[in-house]
């Protein structure tokens, strides 16, 4: 019940905003209502967290109702440790984004209500997608997030927004429709083996022929690989992020794209373990390419927003690598990475968004010496940037380390090449910071004033979390690990891989861990 209320609150808020009469001037009422709704949602998610028992790996806070009986579709929600982490990410980031978006200059100021309403709609749909335990419901919510994002990019973005919005939509729609074919296939397989049902628990018990399982896996994976973007399906992201407002970019990259990686764990690996194992060599290679290629392209960017987009391609590579390395460590790391990447990218997009709005240009070459006139801003950028390059002591480091540590036990070459990504990350962040912040003040940069109290208030929670989780990630891992153990044991017992045996010598008389899979 609490999850339903959690997802419905932002949607209701969006409807209220759509019906509020338009105001003139600063539109403070609409903005306050939106922020209020997102704070209520945050409070509700904390209530849900309090009710959540981190020890258990199964689904909690569940509720199930029949929805479309002819399809076997249910309104079924529930979260495990992975789901609740991402729900929290969503509810934490939305107020930050909304508060930071108070100052966004929109092409048509009359549409402020719509801007905030669409953002709340994204929040509600994303919470729904993270907590759906029915494949049909998940698909509907997953696809439905496209519509608000499409309008957010297309109505409120930069000069090339309409092209970026269409590209975003078509790319994601192609993936989504391939997934639809797989969803239809699931129904046929399920109804052949008795009563049709889309419930996750029922689908996990189905028997698939090898070919069917692989085809269905590919259908799901196509949608998630485009969404999360995996090389070579990533080209929509830099365009979309380059044109969207900072707030939209955060919601898109930090929240909605996580549905892709979340889906890989819960739906791809959870439903088709054998096929996931079969595809993992190719996916690992693509993930490693994403890591290096994304980082290299990020170094070459002059547009700050596109740079951040490419860093995200690189980071998503790490997350996907962690998932498909099939070790408990790497998968827990990948889940934690989803949360941490959300925070650090949000901070980066928002602080650079402020810089860009004040300078009127997103080109790195138009900045220089900003540190002198805006010390707080440059400090925030430094922390956000350092977290993006996984500096120890900041949150993403822990998750990146776990991913690499897990991957090393599976494939040393993949892990070794992926480690290059960390080196390259230092390059793209530090070069960007050096060119924009240090050196003599560049002409035309005088307008970049320091952060206002409202902006500081918006960014502080993100920075605090980045530093806090960097030193003390254990509570998060405690919630994530039981869920990962459940997923891994399911994978292991269904033809996938389980953790590889340690290579170091073990004490002879202790029973060696069984080599996984069969």
């Amino acid at each position: 019940m609490i999850l339903t209320i959690l997802a419905a609150t932002p949607i209701a808020g969006a409807l209220i905003l759509a019906l509020l009469p338009r105001e003139t001037g600063s539109h403070l009422r609409a903005k306050t209502v939106a922020l209020g709704v997102s704070l209520i949602t945050l409070a509700l998610s904390l209530v849900a967290l309090a009710k959540f028992d981190p020890e258990s790996g199964g689904y909690q806070l569940t509720s199930t109702h029949e929805w479309i009986s002819a399809f076997g579709a249910h309104y079924a929600v529930g979260v495990n440790g992975i789901g609740i982490t991402l729900v929290l990410l969503t509810t934490v980031l939305t107020p930050i984004v909304l508060l930071a978006a108070f100052g966004d200059r929109l092409p048509d100021p009359r549409s402020t209500n719509a801007y905030f309403a669409w953002m709340l709609a994204v929040e509600g749909l994303a919470i729904g997608a993270f907590s759906a335990t029915d494949a049909f419901l998940f698909y509907v919510l997953f696809e439905a997030t496209l519509i608000p994002l499409y309008f957010l990019i297309g109505t409120f973005g930069g000069p090339n927004r309409s092209y970026a919005a269409v590209k975003f939509l078509i790319y994601n729609l192609v993936g989504g429709l391939l997934m639809l074919a797989a969803i239809v296939g699931l129904y046929v397989v399920s109804s052949r083996q008795g009563e049709a049902s889309y419930l996750l628990s029922d689908l996990q018990d189905l028997d698939y022929s090898q070919t069917t399982e692989r085809l269905l896996f590919l259908g799901f994976m196509a949608a998630f690989a485009i969404k999360a973007p995996l090389f070579p399906l990533h080209t929509w992201l830099p365009d979309a992020a380059g044109q969207a407002t900072p707030g939209t970019s955060v919601l898109m990259v930090s929240v909605v794209d996580k549905i892709g990686t979340f889906g890989m764990i819960i739906w791809c690996v959870g439903l088709f373990p054998e096929a996931a194992d079969w595809a993992s060599p190719v996916i690992i290679v693509l993930a490693v390419i994403s890591i290096v290629y994304g980082a290299l392209l990020a170094i070459g960017q002059d547009d700050i927003r596109r740079l951040i987009a490419f860093t995200s391609v690189s980071h998503f590579g790490f997350i996907i690598l962690g998932i498909f390395a099939f070790t408990t460590t790497s998968m827990a790391g990948a889940t934690l990475y989803m949360f941490n990447h959300g925070l650090s990218t949000a901070a980066l997009f928002l602080v650079t968004g402020i810089m860009i709005a004040r300078r009127g240009s997103a080109r790195i070459s138009d900045f220089g010496g900003v540190q002198k006139i805006a010390p707080i801003l440059s400090g925030v950028l430094l922390i956000a940037g350092l977290s993006s390059l996984s500096l120890p002591g900041l949150a993403p480091f822990v998750s990146e380390f776990l991913v690499l540590a897990g991957t090393f036990t599976r494939s040393i070459p993949a892990a070794a090449v992926a480690t290059l990504g960390i080196v390259l990350a230092a390059l793209y962040i530090l070069i960007m910071y050096q060119r924009t912040m240090t050196g003599p003040l560049k002409e035309g940069t005088e307008g970049v004033t320091d952060l206002e109290p409202r902006e500081i208030a918006a960014l502080t929670p993100a920075i605090v979390l980045i530093i806090g989780l960097g030193f003390f990630p254990q509570p998060m891992l405690n919630a994530i690990s039981p869920a990962i153990d459940t997923v891994m044991s399911h994978v292991g017992s269904n033809g996938g891989k389980s953790d590889p045996a340690p290579k170091s010598p073990t004490i002879v008389d202790a029973p060696a861990e069984e080599e996984g899979g069969h």
């Binding site: 439905a144 078509i170 239809v184």
Partner: protein
Amino acid sequence: MKTLITATDLPPIKAPEIEYALLGPLFIIAGAAVLGVIIEAFWPRATRFWTQVVVAVVGIIAALADTVWVYTDLDKVDADLVARGKVAAEGALSVDGPGVFTWGILLVFGLLSMLLFAERRLEGGMSAFTGRAADAPGSASEAEAIKLRVEHTEVFPLALFALVGMMLFATSNDLLTMFVALEVLSLPLYLLCGLARRRRLLSQEAALKYFLLGAFSSVFFLYGIALAYGYAGSFELSAIDTAVSNRSGSENMLLASIALIAVGLLFKIGAAPFHTWTPDVYQGAPTPVTAFMAAGTKAAAFIALLRVFFVAFGGSQWDWRPMIVAIAIITMFLGAVVSISQTDVKRMLAYSSIAHAGFLLVGFVGAYAGVAGSDRVTSVSSTLFYLTVYGISSIGAFAIVTLVRDSGGETTHLSKWAGLGKKSPWLAGAFALFMLSFAGIPLTGGFIGKWGVFSAAYSGGFWWLVVIGVLVSALAAYFYVRVIVLMFFTDPVGDGPTVAVPSLLTTVVIIIAALGTVGLGIIPGPVLDLAQHAGAFVR
């Protein structure tokens, strides 16, 4: 010498048994149409328009109520696990679940269309139909007719005749009745297409084109019927089925008959390569007629197509399925690709209707009839649901087309629609909703419809056709999205479009269509169960 036979010696002529209770909706609509003709002859001109509207609307509502009654009563007649209903009127009609469901949706489409027909506020107190169709366009007598404010109120009985033809078409149980129904539904439509008040030359050209091509396709259909009779010795679908199952006649004759009948029916649903009339006719016809035709003809013809191929030719489905697969692929691609280059809203919607015919054919070709005891979505039930959603969204979309106007009437050029979202966000939002439904985005009815036809095809063993189908959907989504981009993200050119303020009639139609589209997307359960409950065709 032979004795003369007197009348009393003749064997008694048995009166045909007509199940009046079962066929009530047909009689009500036919009766309302005849009443409309009488009113046309005798009623004073001053109040004739609204009298006709009332007769048509009341007739349709009464028929709809009767249809609901007949549908709930079907269980009592020959209740069966798979098929519900019975063959009526001496074997001419089969009143079964799918047929009566189609009556229901046809009547709803008819009702919504009648409300659009009756809209008189947009043309300054006149209907969308020409005052005197016999006048040459641009002539002095036309100007006089406009000045006298005469109107063709015959459009209402004509539409009712077309409606009864559609209803007959969907429930014909023999090929001859089907042919008669085809003509009954087509002839009034040919006429209605030529009656536009504005752009009359285009409208008349559309009517002529539709008539000539329609007549041409009817001939194919008739020839197919003749060959089927030659093969099976009967017009009845069940008798043909028996002959096909026994493989009694010449194979070539059967195949030729299937092909020719398919041409006639595929023409009506607008499948490629028999689609060429669609864009011209959709564009030229008065928009309310286009709405009626797009929703109604497609539904009736599709159910007739399913009936002929599942009932009569079900035994030789391995012969015709490859042909239909090819046509489905061509139709989807053609509709989706060509609509991208369209610059006229009505032509774009026409190509979109062609693409939808392709998606429907995907569900049809699955030929999945379900298994007893299981509640799986079948080809018939998924087609019924798709037709419901498509019809409602189409009528809504065309209703909006009637509202975007400039001094020359409706302005259908897409460039004039730029910036509509800024001018009237609600109207543009509704149009965007219909576009999203056509594109099959979740939370709209179109998504559930697509899911249904794809699952029927998948169940029938055509998973690769489903993959083609979803890829074409993405292609098709591109041009629906293009319209949204135009309305919301593009600045208006010059003065931009004017949105006329309609009377309550059109407003109600748009609201019902929008609510229906969203409702069928979020809670499709009731309608889907109804379609599922319709079962199979009776033989």
